[in-house]
Amino acid sequence: MIDAAPLVPVDGDRQNTVLVTIPAEQEFVGVVRLVVGSAAASMGLNEEEIADLKLAVSEACTNAVLHAYASSPVHTERTVEVQLALSERAVEVDVCDKGGGLAPGTPAATVDYEEGGFGLTLIGCLMDSLELLGDCDSGTRLKFVKRHATA
């Protein structure tokens, strides 16, 4: 499911949101990258910023797909929700799942998700801020921001 809507301008900075909900399955992570790439390009981000965003969102979705529902009951709705808030100054990304969740405030460096454990490290390096929160319907919420180089 993909939704898009303009928001009320904040400090004169027009903001648009794009919401994508995917099944928590590996083959759908690429779909989110396509949406993020198109949305970021429409906001005038440069190639490097778009590549950084696509990678960060891909890493966040991959973490959710691989780990969020590993210990959840079979009947749990297994989805990953990605919300982009795009403005002239920055792109804010929220990636939520409804799985078992990680403890809020877990330091990124201690979370070893991947075979190489690079996922959150990459997001932290490529984005301007990164927060791991736990208030997304008991699941995990990863929030990060990429500011425009020209903003």
């Binding site: 083959e27 590549a51 891909s58 991959t62 797909v65 991947e114 075979e115 190489g116 690079f118």
Partner: protein
């Protein structure tokens, strides 16, 4: 959102030429190609990323896993890559110091043969 892998051999060095995207969905394909080579007794491998549009930590993890396998047999994995957005990922993770990375396949082939 697909990954195609072409495998060829040149003087005992295997070349895996990748085209497309390496992510959580497609990385297992790369993993099985690397495992197949090692099982066949090929421990000198060049992974050509020239035609790769996207790679994430799933892909990096598979490359590191492959490197562990060939190093256990005194082999090596070299990479071919000149795309700045991908080189950046190797620099951030420090893997540019783990894998020899060449701009062209010719360069990688010459160095690996030495």
């Amino acid at each position: 959102m697909d990954l195609r892998i072409e495998s060829s051999t040149n003087d005992g060095t295997a070349v895996l030429a990748l085209r497309g995207e390496v992510d959580v969905y497609t990385a297992p394909k790369l993993k099985s190609s690397l495992i197949d080579l090692v099982d066949e007794g090929t421990y000198e491998i060049i992974v050509d990323l020239s035609e790769v549009d996207f790679i994430d930590s799933s892909g990096l993890g598979v490359l590191v896993g492959g490197l562990k396998r060939v190093k256990a047999r005194e082999g090596s994995i070299s990479l071919v890559c000149s795309q700045e957005n991908i080189l950046k990922i190797f620099r951030i993770t420090g893997l540019n110091k783990v894998f020899p990375i060449y701009a062209t396949l010719d360069e990688a082939t010459k160095e690996t043969a030495q």
